[in-house]
Amino acid sequence: MWLWFSRLGSPKWFYELAGRWLPWTWALTVLLFVAGSALALLFSPPDYQQGETVRIMYLHVPAAFLSMACYLTMAIASVIALVWRMKMAFAVARSCAPIGAAMTALALFTGAVWGKPIWGTWWEWDARLTSELVLLFLYLGYIALHESISEQSQADRAAAVLAIVGVVNLPIIHFSVDWWNTLHQGASISRLQKPAIDASMLWPLFTMLAAFFAFFAASLMSRVRNEILKREAASRWVKALVKA
């Protein structure tokens, strides 16, 4: 376990391991997206209230879920990085930010397009929507802070503190629908009881969730590899790699 942990701290080791896993992860991503889209668009029924717009759920829910999971990954990596001064963890945290920002933007956009016909509004300053917007600003703030400090280790540390503090927003997003009278409905699948989604709609949703997570894994690994190239540009193995 300890060996594994210290190995994970080695950029070269991670670069090579991720390089071997990447083709498979991308292949799995494509496969899951093809299957998920077929299930979501063709082989699932319309909703009893929302009709065909329910098909937007199969994109909106995974994007929103991932936007939060990605932030949690970023915050945990930041804690590890700060406590153990682990270079690799800083690289992982920095790599999470653009992917998470894109997912948050996608969740907000699909939510707006879904909200227009169903709720009657593109946007409402509702607790769930507003806290998700705050999440987007946290990601953008992290990236801006990191880019504005030119010294690498200082940028890493300052941005890590922001990432950790921002984690406070995650429970707010999750519980906003219970704490306030929101326009957004309550949670459907994270309840402890039976999910409030019929099985015929649950399967497409789970497949899409898996597809989004496979995409997250693949894009994060690629992004971390790039980050390693950037940070280890002066090392012998990177130079040799580039020449090859």
């Binding site: 670069y15 090579e16 390089g19 990447l22 083709p23 889209s37 668009l41 063709l42 082989f43 699932s44 029924p45 319309p46 009709g51 065909e52 717009t53 098909r55 937007i56 994109l59 909106h60 994007a63 653009p98 992917i99 894109a102 997912m103 933007a105 996608l106 956009f109 699909t110 397009v113 879904w114 227009k116 016909p117 995409f215 894009s219 690629s222 992004r223 590899r225 790039n226 190239l229 950037k230 540009a233 012998r236 990177v238 130079k239 040799a240 790699l241 580039v242 020449k243 090859a244």
Partner: protein, 72 residues
């Protein structure tokens, strides 16, 4: 199968603009992320190559070391 005809499928029960906009936006977001990753990698490789142009000639013995990580 939820739709009886291709036209039905495209119409999405009258919600075509909303449903297809979302699927299009998702595809676009994923494509932008992937394109960004590829471009970043290409640029990094070029920058590193330009930074150390002389290395190859100075230490040819180093290059013989087997390189396991391949590009993807």
């Amino acid at each position: 199968m939820s739709f009886t005809s291709f036209a039905d499928f495209l119409a999405m029960g009258g919600y075509a603009p909303y449903v297809w906009t979302c699927y299009g936006a998702t595809l676009l977001t994923l494509a932008v992320i992937v394109a960004g990753l590829r471009r970043q990698k290409k640029k990094l490789m070029e920058t590193i190559r330009l930074q150390h142009p002389e290395r190859q000639a100075v230490a040819p013995g180093r290059i013989v070391v087997k390189q396991t990580a391949e590009d993807s």
